[in-house]
Amino acid sequence: MTAVDASASALEADQLLALYEEMALIRATEKAAHDLFLSGLVKGTTHLAAGQEAVAVGASAALRPDDYVFATYRGHHHAMARGATPVECLAELMSKGTGLCRAKGGSMHLTKASAGMLGSYAIVGSHLPMAAGAAWSARLRGTGQVAVAFFGDGATNIGAFHEALNLSVVWALPVLFICENNLYMEYTPIHEVTAVADPAAGRAPAYGIPAEVIDGNDVLIVWDAVRRAAERARAGQGPTLLEAKTYRHFGHSRTDPASYRPAAEVEQWLSRDPLDLARARLRALGVLDESVAAADERAAATVAEAVAAAKAAPEPDPGDAMTDVWADGGSAWRT
């Protein structure tokens, strides 16, 4: 993994504290989602991103507000990093009409299009070509926007990953491919099903795409790498691939206790919790522990309010089941 670039220190203490608070907010929201699931208030499934917050928050901080983000079914952190609020997300998870997608998407499809967060996709790898398409659109319209696809290590073995990488570099698209390598494709270690050590970054050279392996638990490192990749993209130099090594604190999905992970490995990664790493960086920058504790308290209070508000929110109108198939808002298919 690369050392912190000297320019990474350009992030001021107050900026880093803000990123820390965002990560704390995501962590608290994921914890709340976990608890709500156990209490029966969240149906279906959830794929929690606790432990992977630094990738979303660091990347988002390096992007313009009008850039595009595409995420996976493990995407709560990406929706929130682009501005979705805890209450919007939790209401969606709890099947409430006030949810981000009016309870028609659920945990796996959080989307906030108004913030350029163009969806969470539950077919592995499907959104990499879409991000390339949004980047193509930005190039055609001359807006200087970039598009980012976040994906897991498991996506590196599906065809869409390879088709997207090849097309993006051939068309010199302003797109960033950011792999969150949490070491497991679902339950199976990625190294058991992939011959190269870095499943994303190890493939990029074959397509002529510059790649970097980074510490995905260090928000500052992620921010710096994404900042540089976005600059390249905006300068017309095409796509970049980043492989961020990270770890999920929960299992793959809500039914998975992740007992297949060695205790020593879990312990080692928990000792590198992205929140702890950010705290250490803040301390080194002279930020008082009280300021960090205050950020934690604000996050906890916001999520507590969000849980209460989401619980109190109304169910969706049953009639909504038949709306919004078509752009006219309806679902009529015949005369």
Binding site: F70, G99, R102, A132, G133, V325
Partner: protein, 332 residues
Amino acid sequence: MADVNSSTPVITYREAVAEGLARELRRDPTVVCLGEDIGAAGGVFKTTSGLFGEFGKGRIWDTPISEQAILGVAMGAAMTGMRPVAEIMFSDFFACCWDYLANEIPKMRYMTGGQVTVPLVVRTANGGGLGFGAQHSQAVENWTLTIPGLKIAAPSNPADVIGMMAAAIRSDDPVVFFEHKGLFASKGPAAPEDHVVELGRATVAREGTDVTLVGLAATVPLALTAADQLAGEGISAEVIDLRCLVPLDMAAVLASLRRTSRLVIVEENPFQGGWGGTVASIVADEGFELLDAPVRRVAGANVPLPFADVLEQQVIPTVDAVTAAVRTLAAY
């Protein structure tokens, strides 16, 4: 189809595809085309001939052989302000990018609670009759009919190609646009300027009083030929060109049945799961009292498409199969 007179310019179905695209490319700068060999090569069927010369590589984009990337890229562009027209060279290749047609493009608006629209067109060469064998000859319009959220257009003549292309590209919904391989060389009157055929409006291609033949794309001229032969036997067949499967103009079918009381559905896709089953089920439900005879379906056989002409003619709808089906209804 309107009669062709000496003062009306005549163009081929193939030329109509390029003309329909060119009209929209001229009209709307957000329209952009992508696909395999569509640029300087003009497309393997020459359906994009001339576009690269007029609009250049900034509007007409050659892609690698990457069907998932083609549709995924088109989708991402459609979600962000463009109106892409993606070509999948043969409709058989939908199986290579089925995720985008089945899971992604048609569901985006719904599952985001209406936040995102996907205004794109997927063009493809569909159908048999040219001896391309089992992986390049299928009529797969029924594949797309199984997916809520896709509009499905399949024109039968050059003027409709142009008018329906305009409607498809201007649609804010995703449209799958089936161009029939067997019709590319066929000719018809050119479309007038700014010709737009609203999606979901069937048309009466030939009026009749004894039996209704419902067709789509290549089965429309086939049904018209059958109707000519039947007229010689004193049977007056009405031919309905459905034009689209979604929206499906059942009002037009039911209105025709009020006149004829007999129905033969002529579809090229396989009988099993073919679109005629949907039409027949609605007629059984809503038009039962209009019928004087059973509903017949002349459809593709439930086998892969064979190579040899003599074999292919056994499994795709033919004029003889249509006239035979109609004659079986005469007894009622």
